[in-house]
């Protein structure tokens, strides 16, 4: 069982793509991936193929920033505010709805594939019925303006493995856990260090909660972003992760970062919570593994690019990542 070892982390594949790959989803038990991209399209290809032959799905009118597989559909969301349902067999558009009035930043699907949730800069989290495309519920709780009168942004969402909870996180570092069934607000967690407001030198802000993940028993919520930034012209803060026992509203772990600067763009727990995996970047990229029981960093490495999203395969031994100009595959058990 110790075959998976973060210290054996190795890049096994790099596939260059024009533009920026912003989101990724994996066809179960395969290396067929769906990437949301800055060319307003979804790219569908087998990343391990010797010569990947991408199929492009056109329909969005801006960056595609969220891709999930739910039931028999692949659903994409973008800065155009649209959610689009695709049939992955026929590669045809099934449904397109204007889901938000502003940028959609992230999507998540329930494990049973019945619901998908979206978050956007209109500061609403919406729950959708996958089969009908109907709006199930609006979750309202994030302020539309920052305390300094600027537009806020709702960057991240996650659904717990048991499918009961939704977590959302915004620009100023406010995180809310919701009950998916009834929309009730269960907890509010603050991670203010992830938002840098510069009142003096540059008079605007940078940062925000960029990633959220529940542990396998749904009791822990990991929050990812960047620490305080001196010069906000650049992604100059340390990559930062905080973990909460959200039901007790108690912070259990704080990983303030050391070597790597930039945003933690995606977080995921290994299938048995052996470690928490984080990746992201500034001008370059990084990947990090944390052992929560020992409260320590096990392994970190430079990524070949700024990582915008990744997905873990079923056993947790393969990491499919989307990022600036390329897709990358890491393995923890490569020969």
């Amino acid at each position: 069982m110790n075959a998976l070892d973060p210290n054996k982390l190795k890049v096994v594949k790099e596939v260059g793509r024009p533009g920026v790959l912003l989101a990724v989803a994996q066809q179960p038990a395969s290396s067929r991936l769906f990437f949301g991209a800055s060319d307003f399209k979804v790219h569908d290809f087998d990343v391990m193929a010797e010569k990947p032959e991408p199929v492009e799905y056109a329909g969005h009118e801006s960056y595609v920033t969220g891709v999930v597989l739910a039931g028999k559909y692949m659903i994409s969301g973008g800065y155009d505010g649209r959610l689009i349902w695709w049939d992955t067999e026929t590669k045809q558009q099934v449904r397109s709805i204007l889901a938000h009035s502003r940028w959609i930043r992230d999507l998540a699907a329930t494990p049973n594939g019945k619901h998908v949730v979206s978050v956007a800069d209109d500061m609403v989290c919406r729950i959708w019925d996958v089969a009908s495309g109907k709006l199930v519920r609006d979750l309202l709780g994030h302020d539309s303006r920052t305390p300094n009168h600027f537009p806020s942004m709702l960057y991240a969402c996650a659904i717990s493995p048991d499918g009961r909870y939704i977590a959302t996180g915004d620009r100023v570092g406010k995180n809310i856990v919701w009950d998916l069934a009834n929309g009730r607000r269960l907890a509010t967690l603050e991670t203010p260090i992830m938002y840098t407001w510069d009142p003096k030198a540059r008079i605007h802000s940078i940062g925000g909660v960029r990633s959220l993940a529940f542990s396998s028993d749904s009791s822990l919520l990991a929050v990812g972003g960047m620490g305080q930034v001196g010069n906000i012209d650049h992604l100059g803060g340390l990559a930062r992760v905080e973990v909460f026992n959200w039901q007790k509203a108690e912070r259990t772990h704080e990983f303030a970062g050391d070597e790597y600067n930039g945003l933690v763009e995606r977080l995921a727990f290994a299938p048995k919570d052996q470690w928490l995996l984080a990746a992201g970047g500034d001008n370059a990229g990084f990947i990090k593994f944390f052992d929560l029981s020992a409260s320590k960093l096990i392994k970190q490495d430079k990524a070949p690019m700024h990582v915008h999203d990744f997905v873990l395969n079923e056993n947790g031994g393969t990491i499919y990542a989307a990022g600036h100009g390329k897709a990358v595959v890491w393995s923890l058990d490569a020969a």
Binding site: D39, F40, R202, I203, I206, H234, D282, N283, G325
Partner: protein, 436 residues
């Protein structure tokens, strides 16, 4: 005017005695007042044109750090360089701007967008200097900037309001946004406001009453006029002029206080510092200040360009449209030129931090209001915004156009010793297509 007399200064009752200086002047032959000025052409009989341009005003939004043309005036939707924002149709057929400016999109009938600047200088200091001076700096000759030249051309020598005010609150890049009057001298240097919303030294110092403050100034002037007799020097003249303007400027202190503005006007400019300073700018130009620069720093979005512009363009859109509405309602827009400019624009290429870097090869400025042909676009960048495709110009043409729009001869020459220095570099022509 009612001041106490507890510390022994002059009280109201003593006011009548103030005539003492006047009577002294009349009876003491040797102390007749010397001429106050040798300096300014505005004192000479004004030509009609000069009269006409005297009520013209300029407000510059200095977008320090380099605002992106792609997220403001020159969007490239759907291109690899275009970024995620869409372009929106404006109220002028055929002109689209970034969706980050919905309010400006409905007010574009007053604005001319210039999309073809190639200014060649890609560092903050050099770019800021170029866009302040309208030409390259010279190390040995200190050149005046736009504000100083306009203050010189349109200000009144004895004006009771400041004639060049510059705001720059953020600390980043402040040195590049200071403004300089160069060889025109400190008379035309900006009243430069940083963290204070009011200029320094505009109110009475503690412990002195209004009347005492005035009589000591009168005495100072009497002695100084006497000293000036038989001594000709523009420096000497400027000293007396500077002191002569003090009382007037002190009475302009309330212009910097927006607390009395109705809430509806406050909302029109918004709650941010930039909005508040722009409201002060409107109050100043309404009172006669010819040139105000409101700097908004810092746009240098090497990382997270789109987030930064979401914040800053949204603010600019609100503040600028609020200002234009306010000027229009007050009947001031026809006489007020509102300019947006930076030291340069930003690269079409999007870097790995989703940022854009410094870019001087094809970027945009906007001119709105006074003397401008609204609802027009001058010049063109290529489809990805990498180069100028049509109508390439530099800073000099923008300056010549500004001068022309205000009725100032851009070829007018100042003399520094024997050397003629024209307002804009020789051979520069204003952009006729931009001028009404």
């Amino acid at each position: 005017m009612t001041r106490r007399n507890s510390s022994g200064g002059l009280s109201d009752q003593a006011i009548s005695r103030r005539s003492f200086l006047g009577s002294t002047l009349a009876t003491t032959a040797v102390l007749t007042a010397a001429d106050m000025t040798v300096l300014d052409a505005l004192q000479s009989p004004a030509m009609a044109e000069e009269l006409k341009r005297k009520d013209k005003r300029v407000i510059v939004f200095w977008l320090a750090g380099g605002a992106s043309q792609l997220e403001t005036w020159d969007p490239k939707p759907g291109r690899p360089t275009g970024g995620p924002y869409r372009a929106i149709q404006t109220n002028v057929p055929g002109i689209q701007i970034s969706e980050l400016m919905p309010k400006m999109s409905q007010r574009l009938q007053h604005t001319s967008i210039i999309r073809s600047l190639n200014t060649k200088i890609g560092d903050h200091g050099g770019g800021a200097t170029l866009m302040h001076l309208g030409r390259r700096d010279e190390s040995a000759l200190k050149l005046p900037d736009l504000g100083a030249m306009i203050a010189r051309e349109m200000g009144q020598i004895d004006s009771a309001v400041p004639d060049y005010v510059a705001f720059y609150t953020a600390t980043e890049g402040r040195g590049g946004g200071t403004g300089q009057s160069g060889f025109l001298g400190a008379r035309y240097a900006p009243m430069f406001l940083t963290t204070e919303s009011k200029p320094a030294d505009l109110s009475l110092p503690p412990g002195i009453g209004e009347i005492d403050h005035q009589t000591r100034a009168d005495l100072r002037q009497l002695l100084s006029n006497r000293f000036s007799e038989g001594r000709k020097s523009s420096s000497l003249g400027s000293h007396n002029e500077a002191y002569a303007r003090v009382r007037g400027l002190m009475s302009s202190e309330q212009l910097f206080d927006i607390s009395g503005e109705p809430q509806s006007i406050r909302d029109q400019y918004g709650p941010t510092l930039f909005g508040e300073q722009t409201l002060v700018a409107r109050r100043l130009i309404e009172a006669g200040t010819p040139f105000v620069k409101v700097s908004r720093a810092w746009w240098d979005s090497h990382g997270q360009n789109f987030e930064t512009h979401l914040e800053l363009v949204t603010e600019l859109d609100h503040v600028m449209s609020g200002l234009l509405d306010d000027l229009e309602q007050r009947g001031l827009l026809d006489n007020t030129l509102v300019i947006t400019m930076s030291e340069f624009g930003r690269t079409p290429n999007i870097n790995a931090s989703l940022g854009r870097d410094h870019f001087a090869s094809a970027w945009s400025v906007s001119l709105t209001g006074c003397g401008i042909k609204g609802g027009s676009v001058y010049g063109k960048s290529d489809e990805d915004g990498q180069t100028v495709a049509d109508g390439e110009i530099g800073a000099a043409q923008v300056f010549a156009t500004i001068f022309h729009a205000l009725g100032i001869d851009h070829e007018k020459e100042y003399y520094v010793g024997v050397r003629p220095v024209p307002l804009t570099d020789p051979g520069t022509e204003p952009l006729k297509e931009v001028i009404a």
